[in-house]
């Protein structure tokens, strides 16, 4: 018989003998010791604690699931962008190819409509202001995407131009 099991059996016998001989109603710490109470408590606490940690982790990440629920196109865009986010070198300058989500494509279209109301060489702060007052979602990061994708390009004189062909390709 394994040593540990033997010890436990002995312990149990001692407990029964004590009980039978009338010396033995155990209370408090003795009772806990005799019934492996400490080990059981530690296991119980660990289970509850791990459960609470897991629950808090789930709750802390819940906003991501809700964001996906609001815009399911992000799921496909996430997997596509992993593969297709690349940097093209063209004439020594970096052009970043970004796969747009459905809502980002909508934003590009909304910006395109605003740009049509401006001159060919327009003021970028003016476009940003129009986007803000028109209620376009996230105008600052959206404008940044337009610049990174070269949909909006500087004319080197302080004004900017809307590149229709690049814009059409991006929203296709």
């Amino acid at each position: 018989m394994p040593k540990r099991l033997l010890q436990k059996t002995m312990k149990a016998r001692v407990f029964c003998n004590n009980f039978k001989s009338g010396g033995g109603h155990l209370y408090g710490l003795e009772s806990i010791n005799a019934s492996n109470g400490w080990a059981i408590s530690i296991v119980g606490i660990s289970i509850v604690f791990s459960g609470l940690v897991s629950l808090s982790l789930v709750i802390s990440q819940l906003y991501k699931v809700l964001a996906l629920y609001e815009d399911p196109s992000k799921i496909t865009a996430f997997f596509k962008s992993k593969k297709s986010k690349k940097v093209d070198e063209k004439e020594g300058e970096k052009i970043i190819t970004i796969v747009l989500t459905r809502s980002q494509k909508e934003t590009v279209k909304q910006f395109a409509l605003l740009a049509r109301t401006l001159d060919d060489h327009f003021s970028l702060p003016r476009l940003l202001h129009l986007a803000q007052i028109s209620g376009i979602k996230d105008p600052y990061p959206s404008l940044n995407i337009l610049l990174k994708m070269r949909i909006v390009e500087s004319d080197e004189n302080g004004f900017f131009m809307w590149k229709n062909e690049v814009s059409d390709r991006a929203v296709r």
Binding site: D138, N144, S154, G158, F159, F160
Partner: protein, 149 residues
């Protein structure tokens, strides 16, 4: 995130300074995190801070509707604090999350007061930078106070 010393060494304006000056200058900058939509300066406000771009994209808007997009680490903003009027002539809006290194007007003034050679180097480099990056903006801004040192 890139180190301020590395950015200063690569900067068009501060890259010409010697190692000791760069080291002294680096210790005076505070790093700020920037988020899309943050407004760093408004045109007409008292110029209190000079900024060096660490990471991200910032739109520099001028009064006449002209603008420059700054997205290269080491691009700088707010050198109007050295102008005679000490007012910002441009507005700075953050388009992409990142960081800037900020130096107060007082710190900058003390620095160039102590080291006139550094002031001259900064002024020359500033003119070259404007020629290359935004020739149309050259008349718009000018570190006037630098000429006094």
């Amino acid at each position: 995130m890139r180190d301020i010393k590395e950015i200063l060494k690569k900067s068009k304006v501060f890259g010409l300074l010697d190692a000791d000056s760069v080291k002294r200058l680096a210790g005076m900058f505070d790093q700020w995190t920037i988020h899309p939509g943050d407004i760093l300066t408004n045109s007409g406000d008292t110029a209190h801070t000079f900024f060096l771009l660490g990471k991200g994209t910032v739109l520099l808007a001028m009064d006449e509707g002209k603008a420059i997009v700054l997205d290269t680490p080491g691009d700088f903003m707010g050198l109007e604090l050295l102008s005679a009027k000490g007012k910002y002539k441009t507005s700075l809006s953050v388009l992409e999350e990142g960081s800037v290194f900020a130096l107060s007007r007082q710190g900058f003034m003390e620095l160039i007061r102590e080291d006139s050679a550094m002031a001259e180097t900064i002024m020359d480099a500033w003119q070259e930078y404007l020629d290359a990056k935004a020739p149309f903006a050259k008349n718009n801004e000018g570190p006037g106070l630098l000429q006094q040192f």
